[in-house]
Amino acid sequence: MEIFVQQLINGITLGSIYGLIAIGYTMVYGIIGMINFAHGDVFMVGAFLALIAFLALVAIGVTAVPLALFLVLLIAMALTSLYGWTVERLAYRPLRHSFRLAPLISAIGMSIVLQNYVQIAQGARVKPLPPLIQGGYTLIDNDVFIVRLSNVQILVVVTTLALMAVFSWVIARTRLGRDMRACEQDLKMASLVGVDVDRTISLTFVIGAALAAVAGIMTLLYYGVIDFYIGFVAGVKAFTAAVLGGIGSLPGAMLGGLLIGLIETFWSAYFSSEYKDVAAFSILIIVLIFLPTGILGRPEIEKV
């Protein structure tokens, strides 16, 4: 039981990070039907920007952790959004009316560009950050096993939940959200009734990048080590999460992220950590056989 609780904590934390990245994949797919393969690398860029912001803040004497954290969150989200916007503007918008594979290929190109850019600009070595948030709570302490919930884990999960709430509100209640939903249903029709489609798509990328930046900061705080390559693995996992949850569905992305995190964790815990990726992808395949659109995905309706 104690071990189960501990693994549950581990899995939810990992899943939250996957979920935050997965939202970026699912939103872009929902609106323009394209898989933004550069999104994982935008997440990596976000983590690097956060690290640079941390170091800059320390250099100018901001050492109070909550204040520094808040500032880093703002700086990294703003700058990463700029990256997200630029990627869309440079690599996807010129290809919007091109054949279907063109933006996909330019996405792969963009992914390589971002990765090599960071590798050259920041070096290939791993970049560590000393643990900023230490301590935690002991939830259960019997003689057999001590269940620990660390402050970083609380931060990761609470931030994710808060962002999800804000984000759902934006989609459901604001003008921007309405525009996004309109674009998701029918791009051409939306533009005919006065929705600025280009602006909406740009903002979708911006929001996706901002959430990826938060995931980057959480990775940096939780694991303490980043390198230019983290975007690839995280991107693949988050993309899987988006597909598992039903690509195009926002709650699906979050659910998918949590599921992938929990599957990996519990597989490692009760079977062998050697095959945890095999387990996660096998479950993806099984789910897709029975629910081809993912758990919460809506079946594609042919428009007449």
Partner: protein, 367 residues
């Protein structure tokens, strides 16, 4: 996607390798992971070879010719290692000091064999490297059956009735070392409580750590590299697990400490006796210090690899790889690591692994 990346890298490399060396120079190669997560070790290999070549050229080179150094990057990726090796063969280098990861050195050695290139690895410890009856493979470091033997004996002696976990990263080096350690441990009658593998490049080991915590593990032996070992340690401590961590020679880089921070104190690892402390290395160490480089880990091994080749070339009066290889096997060589000689397989005779401990100030020293 990764294929694309590799081919683009290979393309870049082929451009870099094109148009080298004039006819009167001898070009040799050094290959290691200059990018990727083990880049700090690649830098060690590069630093060592660069200084060795500079020092040799200051004394007039070999056979009256200047030496040029061609640097290759394999990123510790077997496919890329093979591609770099083919490039080196294409550039007709007679000798390569490298690679770092055993999983790179072994596939590269096949390309070198076909292309008639002598390969001396400063750092690859997997026994397989020299066990395949190839004329062109040598190493300056020890072997994992020796290293694992030392680690296994230590575990058996100090943790006989404790719960031992052995982890590895599924790589040629990591699994090889973990298996040798397990073998040595089991030979004494002791048995590990847990034997698990993790994935290279992973960041999250919390599930594995919780599992070890539940099994009351007292000591964790890792066959793997410093990035994952550092993260496993960090996550162990974050979960309040106080077990001792022991690992091998892939932790001898200051980067391990930058990952773990103060929590790295007390971690044990096996490595050859500190080369920086050898009297033969004193002058070279000072040169490195003047360049603001700490010649840690395999830096001096890489220097020695180039030295051995140069001395053998001088003795054989040719750079012909096969003749140089015969000469290396037969002779005794004065290196920064002290006098070295080779057995038939291409392993150095007389190797001793010792234990190192990471101290509270972020340095390591012999236990």
């Amino acid at each position: 996607m990764s294929k694309l990346r590799i081919s683009s890298l290979a393309l870049g490399l082929s451009l870099a390798l094109a148009g080298t060396a004039s006819a009167q120079d001898v070009t040799i190669g050094v290959v290691g992971p200059l990018t990727g997560q083990y880049a700090s070790f690649g830098k060690q290999l590069k630093d060592g070879a660069e200084l060795a070549v500079a020092d040799l050229n200051a004394k007039g080179g070999v056979l009256g010719k200047k030496i040029k150094l061609e640097i290759g990057d394999d990123a510790c990726d077997p496919k890329q290692a093979r591609a770099v090796a083919e490039k080196m063969v294409g550039a007709k280098v007679p000798f390569v000091a490298g690679h770092f990861c055993s999983s790179s050195s072994i596939p590269a050695s096949d390309a070198y064999l076909e292309g008639n290139v002598l390969q001396i690895t400063p750092a690859s410890t997997n026994p397989q490297f020299t066990e395949r009856k190839m004329w062109n493979t040598f190493r300056v470091c020890g072997r994992d059956d020796q290293q694992g033997g030392v680690a296994g004996a230590y575990l058996a002696k100090n943790y006989k009735d404790k719960n031992i976990a052995i982890l590895h990263d599924k790589s040629t080096y990591g699994k090889g070392l973990a298996d040798e350690t397990k073998k040595a441990l089991n030979k004494t009658g002791a048995k590990e409580k847990m034997y698990e593998a993790y994935t290279q490049g992973d960041k999250d080991f919390n599930a594995l750590v919780s599992k070890m915590k539940a099994a009351n593990i007292d000591v964790v032996y890792i066959g793997g590299y410093h990035t994952e070992a550092g993260l496993i340690l960090r996550q162990m401590r974050a979960q309040g697990m106080k077990a001792q961590l022991i690992s091998g020679d892939a932790l001898v880089t200051n980067e391990f400490w930058s990952i773990t921070g103060a929590e790295g104190a007390g971690v044990l690892m096996t490595f050859g006796p500190d080369p920086r402390k050898k009297p033969t290395a004193k002058a070279v160490v000072e040169k490195f210090k003047a360049k603001n480089i700490d010649p840690e880990g395999y830096t001096l091994y890489s220097y020695a690899a180039v030295q051995i080749w140069a001395q053998a070339v001088t003795k054989a009066k040719t750079t012909d790889p096969k003749k140089v290889a015969e000469t290396v096997r037969a002779g005794k060589w004065d290196t920064v690591l002290g006098p070295l000689s080779y057995d038939k397989k291409g392993d150095i005779t007389a190797i001793d692994y010792v234990f190192y401990i990471w101290k509270k100030d972020g340095t390591y020293s012999e236990l």
